[in-house]
Symmetry: C2
Subunit: 84 residues, 2 copies
């Protein structure tokens, strides 16, 4: 199973704290292994409410399923096939 | 001068190659010091044309000025005050 890198984007996290983001991230980490996904890092701009998650996994759909089951679905997932 | 972390997003890089992304990134690196900015990494999804750049610097405006002078302006810059 190929491992690709993904960036996904969430909206609506205005005013969310570090503790709340850590809790959301932990919910992903708790189940990510079931889909062969790993969420490496999450960054939040609490002013705009944007969250960016960097992950690895077999497919966009696998990333989306973990986020959905963890309670924070997003349809905005990009496969990062090129990086510098 | 405070150093903050930023994510900025570009659209329209459909079909761009690794070499072209490296060239664009090098154009940022060549002048970033003039604004106290550092572009750490850039990721591209050549299918959707999205680029995500992770940087540090003193302000959103400084990040925007470097990208604009390097030839790839974007208004979409987020200050990532929280990360996990």
């Amino acid at each position: 199973m190929a491992t690709n890198r993904y960036m996904d984007v969430h909206d609506g996290f205005v005013g969310v704290t570090k503790e709340q983001l850590a809790e959301a991230h932990a919910a992903d980490l708790a189940i990510e292994g079931e889909e062969g996904v790993h969420f490496e890092q999450a960054w939040l701009d609490p002013e705009s409410g944007k969250v960016f998650c960097l992950s690895t996994g077999p497919s966009k759909e696998a990333v989306m399923r973990i986020h959905e089951r963890a309670g924070h679905p997003t349809a905005e997932v990009y496969e990062l096939s090129i990086e510098v």
